[in-house]
C-alpha cells in the first residue's frame, strides 16, 4: 500500500497550481486580485484601492472594476476546477505553457453600489463540456448574504492536447 502523501507536499502542489494560473497574468496583478484557497475552494479577494473608484461623490467602486474582478474570479475558478483532478491524480502540474479559457460573453448584474472597501467573489462552474463552459459568480463585501454583484459567463475551453 502506498503511504499517504505528506501534507506539505500536497499543499505545495496545490499552491503551485494556483500560482501558475494567477501569477503570469499582468492584469490580475495590476488590479491586485488575490485568491484565498481552502482545499479546492477558491475565494477571490479585491483589496480596496482609491483608483478602483468610479463615482467619487458616493464614493462607489467603478462598475468596470467590479466586472473585471468577477471575470477574473470566474475564469480562474474554471481553469482551477478543470485542472484540479488531473493534478491531484498525477501529483504534478501540467506541462507546457498555460492555456486559459477564452470569454465568449459575460453578463453582470449590479445589485447595489460597491462600497470603498475589500470585495470577495466565489464562482461556480455550472456546466463544463469539452468546448464550452458556463460559470456563475457572486460578489459581496461585508456580508456574504448581501451580494453587490453577480455575473454569468460562457467560456471557450482551451484545446486538450493529447498526452504523449
Amino acid at each position: 500500500m502506498k503511504p499517504p502523501e505528506p501534507l506539505h507536499v500536497i499543499k505545495r502542489r496545490r499552491e503551485a497550481l494556483l500560482r501558475s494560473l494567477v501569477d503570469g497574468v499582468p492584469y490580475i496583478r495590476y488590479l491586485g486580485v488575490q485568491f484565498d484557497r481552502r482545499g479546492d475552494e477558491l475565494t477571490a479577494v479585491l483589496p480596496f484601492r482609491d483608483d478602483l473608484i468610479g463615482n467619487p461623490r458616493l464614493p462607489a467602486l467603478h462598475g468596470g472594476a467590479t466586472a473585471a474582478f468577477l471575470e477574473i474570479a470566474a475564469m480562474i475558478e474554471l481553469s482551477w476546477s478543470t485542472l484540479w483532478e488531473g493534478v491531484e491524480a498525477d501529483g504534478a502540474l501540467p506541462e507546457g505553457p498555460l492555456r486559459l479559457p477564452k470569454t465568449i460573453d459575460f453578463t453582470i448584474d449590479y445589485l447595489r453600489a460597491g462600497l470603498p472597501r475589500d470585495a470577495y467573489a466565489r464562482a461556480r462552474v455550472n456546466r463544463s463540456g469539452r468546448r464550452y463552459a458556463s460559470v456563475h459568480v457572486e460578489a459581496w463585501q461585508d456580508n456574504r448574504a448581501r451580494l453587490f454583484a453577480q455575473a454569468t459567463g460562457h467560456f471557450l475551453m482551451p484545446p486538450v492536447e493529447p498526452k504523449p
Binding site: 497574468v25 492584469y27 496583478r29 488590479l31 462607489a60 468596470g64 473585471a68 498555460l98 477564452k102
Partner: protein, 140 residues
C-alpha cells in the same frame, strides 16, 4: 476646441478607475460617447499573446455606456449600471488602441438602454459589443 479637450480630460479625471486605465474621451454627443483605451502592458490578460484582458475591455465598455447616458439631454448628472452584457467577438490586436462608441437607444424616466461597439485599428470587425441598462437620475 481647447475647451472641449479640457472638458474631456476633466470627465475622465472624475472617474478615478477610468483615469487609471488610461482612458480618453474622444467624442461626446447627445446620448453618445466614444472613449479610447491605449494599449498598455498592465492590461494584458494572456501573457503568451499580449492580448488585453476581457476585464479591461469590460471597464472600457462600462465607462463609455455611462458617459453616453450622462450626455443624454433627458438623463442627468449621474448614473449607475443595472446590468451589462458583453460579447467578445475576437481578441483585440496587441499594440493597438481599443475604441468604444456607446449610444443610448432608448431612455425612459427611470432607465437608459445602451449599446456599445468596441474596435481596434480594424474598425470593420468589432472586438466586442455590449448591451446594458443604466439608471436615470431625475434632475431635482
Amino acid at each position: 476646441m481647447s475647451d472641449i479637450a479640457a472638458i474631456a480630460r476633466q470627465f475622465i479625471r472624475a472617474l478615478p478607475h477610468s483615469h487609471a486605465l488610461g482612458m480618453q474621451l474622444v467624442a461626446i454627443g447627445e446620448g453618445t460617447a466614444t472613449i479610447a483605451m491605449p494599449y498598455d502592458d498592465r492590461l494584458i490578460g494572456d501573457p503568451e499573446t499580449g492580448v488585453i484582458h476581457g476585464g479591461a475591455v469590460s471597464a472600457l465598455m462600462d465607462t463609455a455606456c455611462g458617459a453616453a447616458v450622462m450626455s443624454h439631454p433627458q438623463a442627468g448628472f449621474s448614473t449607475a449600471t443595472l446590468d451589462l452584457r458583453i460579447d467578445y467577438m475576437r481578441p483585440a490586436t496587441p499594440g493597438q488602441t481599443i475604441r468604444t462608441r456607446a449610444e443610448c437607444h432608448h431612455v425612459t424616466r427611470s432607465v437608459a438602454f445602451v449599446r456599445a461597439v468596441a474596435t481596434d485599428d480594424d474598425d470593420s470587425r468589432p472586438v466586442a459589443m455590449a448591451t446594458g441598462a443604466f439608471t436615470v437620475e431625475r434632475k431635482a
